[in-house]
């Protein structure tokens, strides 16, 4: 090879090296930068979860929300108090609902009933519903598992 070609080839090679090397570095730094930005839900929903608007929950009504992989029920009692329980019936795992006419938590599968403290009061359920702590910040209800 002539002495004129070699520097040109080296120049192209170096340029190519820079380009490919830069793209490799970019493909490493892009995931790192994305990783560092906090996700929308900043922490695991294992211990607590947002249960929606407090204003949108009138007295003597309830809302079922997901809590991790199981459902939870948030109730506003006729007296206006907010309470939250696991919504999985302790009999055969159906999802319970609120009955405003009975003012009780009711399971459609075998007519089980729980009172507003989560205690099993009628029908087959053998155990009360697990209770969760309820906190309201602004208009947002947060329910937290009790450890």
């Amino acid at each position: 090879m002539t002495s004129g070609e070699a520097p040109a080839r080296r120049g192209v090679l170096n340029w190519l090296l820079g380009l490919t090397g830069g793209s490799v570095l970019a493909s490493i730094f892009y995931p790192v930068v994305r990783y560092l930005a906090p996700p929308d839900i900043p922490e695991a929903a294992a211990l607590s979860v947002n249960a929606g608007s407090a204003q949108a929950l009138p007295a003597n009504s309830a809302r079922v929300v997901p809590f991790g992989a199981r459902p939870a029920i948030v109730i506003r009692t006729p007296g206006g108090e907010l309470r939250a329980f696991s919504a999985t019936c302790t009999h055969l795992d159906c999802t319970v609902q609120y009955r405003p006419d009975l003012q009780r938590i009711w399971c459609a599968c075998h007519n089980g009933e729980y009172d507003l403290n989560g205690r099993n009061v009628a029908g087959p359920p053998p155990r009360p519903l697990d209770a969760y702590d309820v906190n309201v910040t602004g208009d947002e209800i947060t329910i937290t598992r009790r450890s």
């Binding site: 995931p31 790192v32 990783y35 695991a44």
Partner: protein, 357 residues
């Protein structure tokens, strides 16, 4: 004044660059093994980096550890990648460290004046294994919980200090949240501090003494000078090292994508141990050996004898260069090393096959 000149006035920049410019690395038929030391270092740096990233989201308590790892792999962008790379690089680092150890052993690079390099290196190998053991529990899943319990149980067979050692490792009598916090502290603070100091020493010594040339190649060189060439560190060796390191990155990315690390089931301390609990592959050989040891050996507890022998082997390996002076001794060491490698390999294969349903 240029930036370079400004820095040069304050830092020994020119000295470093000059040294590197003049540095040369031997180049012979065995010099490909030189790359394993650098690869191990590179993998350690990857662990520090991915470990620091994981630390931003991980929570070291029994109530939250598993959920935080689940959060990392499911909700954090590229969290699955960071976690899987951390887990795979750990395994690759242990493998690379062992490859580095055995290549140094068989190429006799531990001989004078590199005894301290060997000793610090062997200590680093033990630290690497400790990193692996402490890190394994941190996801707090079923497999890691029981593997830690079984692993720490083995310490109990050491006489006099066994019980105390187990309590020290577990932070109590059994594996609990206290164990998790304690091993976490070891994994992210204490072991890295010791490792950093030892790595600094190790690298300083390597820099001081340069790369060792095996005796057989040296003998050849006296007959034929062309047998031992050397290449400049900058750019020849460095670019080759960069090649190796980039290849490691490619392998890690592939492993993380095609064999993502499992989350497993959350640890339940009250559940019975599931069948087939065993430690990570680099401890399997010791595990399998203990399984095959007879209950008593020469009147002593079999497990104790095996652990004692492994301990003696480790001490012997640590102090190897101080025990070996002559060429005869070195060839004995080669045979012992080959036997040890074969033994560890055979035990590992046996253990893996026993695990197959």
């Amino acid at each position: 004044m240029s930036l370079r000149a400004w820095l040069d006035e304050r830092l020994p920049l020119s000295d470093v660059i000059d040294t590197l410019r003049h540095k040369r690395v031997p180049h012979h038929r065995y010099s490909v093994w030189y790359y394993f030391g650098g690869a191990t270092l590179f993998l350690f740096l990857i662990q520090v980096g991915t470990g620091a990233l994981l630390l931003l989201y991980y929570r070291p308590s029994a109530a939250e550890a598993y959920e935080s790892v689940q959060f990392i792999v499911s909700r954090v962008p590229f969290g699955w990648l960071v976690r899987s790379i951390h887990a795979w690089a750990a395994n690759l680092m242990v493998a690379s460290a062992f490859a580095h150890l055995f290549s140094v052993l068989f190429l006799h690079a531990y001989r004078r004046p590199r005894e301290l390099t060997w000793i610090s290196g062997f200590a680093l190998l033990l630290l690497t294994l400790a990193f692996g053991f402490t890190g394994y529990l941190l996801p707090w899943n079923e497999v890691s919980f029981f593997a830690t319990r079984v692993g720490t149980d083995i310490a109990a067979s050491i006489p006099l200090v066994g019980e105390a050692l187990v309590r020290f490792l577990r932070g109590g009598d059994d594996v609990t949240g206290a164990t998790l916090t304690r091993l976490f502290g070891f994994h992210v603070a204490i072991l890295p501090a010791i490792a950093t100091a030892l790595i600094a020493l190790h690298l300083l010594l390597v820099q001081r003494h340069g790369m060792s040339v095996p005796p057989s190649v040296e003998a050849q060189a006296s007959a034929d000078p062309r047998a031992v060439r050397s290449i400049p560190f900058l750019p020849h060796f460095l670019l080759r090292d960069l090649f190796a390191w980039t290849a490691v990155v490619a392998v890690l990315a592939a492993l993380a994508t095609f064999y993502p690390w499992e989350l497993g089931a959350k640890a339940d301390p009250f559940a019975p141990a599931p069948a087939g609990i065993r430690p990570e592959w680099y401890f399997l050989w010791a595990f399998e050996t203990l399984k095959h040891v007879p209950p008593t050996v020469a009147g002593l507890n079999g497990e104790f004898v095996a652990v004692a022998m492994m301990g003696a082997g480790a001490v012997g390996a640590l102090l190897l260069p101080l025990l070996v002076a002559s060429a005869r001794a070195r060839s004995v060491v080669t045979w012992i090393g080959a036997a040890a490698l074969l033994f560890m390999g055979a035990m590992t294969v046996l253990a893996l096959r026993a695990g197959q349903p």
